[in-house]
Amino acid sequence: MAANDVRRREEEALQAYYDGELGYWSRRRMKRRIERSPDLRRELAELETLSGLVTESVSEVVVPDLWSGIARGLAGVDAERAAVEPAAPRAGVSEWLFRPIGALVAAGAVAAALAMFLLSGETAPSGVVHWVDSGTRNVMVLEGEGDVTVIWVFDPVGEGASRGGRRGAA
């Protein structure tokens, strides 16, 4: 692996640590590495400083009140339209009856679509393993085949060298 890749992964790990995105083991491991490494401690301090600066600059930005201007413009448009267009005819009794029914039908359709969407999502347990560390050994993760995930830790000296068509041997 190139030095640049190692460096980039280390920066990503530090950023994830700072953002609180690491899992239990990875957080502990990263914490230990930071305690041992002056460089990582310095980078973490820089991240904290940078975050403080960003927070300050965001809080100092004055957001102009655009909506009041837009609302004034809309009121003017409404007034012009009312002057040009004739008054709309009043709704009849049948229309008043059917409006709530239509709304109910629409709400039912939306609820059914949501239910189908939510129920169909339960069979996708992909991404079970978030983080894995096997030290110097190679590790293989098999996911996405039904409801089973396999984590296989190989011996340090290439256990799979004579495994033929399959992935490993006992």
Binding site: V132, V148, T149
Partner: protein, 147 residues
């Protein structure tokens, strides 16, 4: 009924009605893990019927002749509680469930001297970890959470 009797009746009713609710609320954060430790080996033999599901998954990817279940444990673990299972090779398995969501239980797993992992395991999903040698074969640890 006197005033004191009425007060006691209310207290008893609150306790009788309230305690099971408190117990249920505490139990809601308890995760059950079915743990099975097996050994797969090139030695001829049978496949333990208790490990049929595991065998179905492993058979296509790994070469072995027999599968023997060495140990089964059912653990009930509170969130953030550490549970330990002694493995046949003298090492230990550690589990610490961290949180539960509709996508599964986030659990930190440590197989001593072999592998550490953070994983989000859906309800009833089987995780098999092949780690370590034992009596001429490989140890396979299966975890299945229920919540």
């Amino acid at each position: 009924m006197g005033r004191h009797n009425l007060m006691w009746a209310v207290v008893v009713a609150v306790l009788v009605l309230g305690l099971p609710g408190i117990g249920a609320a505490q139990g809601a954060h308890e995760i059950r893990f079915d743990v099975m430790v097996s050994r797969i080996s090139q030695q001829p033999g049978e496949v333990d019927p208790r490990a049929r599901r595991l065998d179905t998954q492993l058979r296509g990817d790994f070469r072995y002749e027999s599968l023997k279940v060495l140990k089964e444990e059912r653990l009930s673990i509170e969130l953030n509680e550490l549970a330990t299972v002694a493995l046949p090779d003298g090492k230990k398995l550690e589990l610490r469930p961290l949180s539960v969501s509709d996508r599964g239980v986030l659990v930190a797993v440590n197989v001593e001297g072999s592998v550490q992992s953070d994983m989000r395991v859906p309800n009833g999903h089987l995780v098999a970890i092949g780690a370590g040698h034992f009596e001429g074969g490989r140890l396979v640890i299966s975890l299945e959470p229920h919540f």
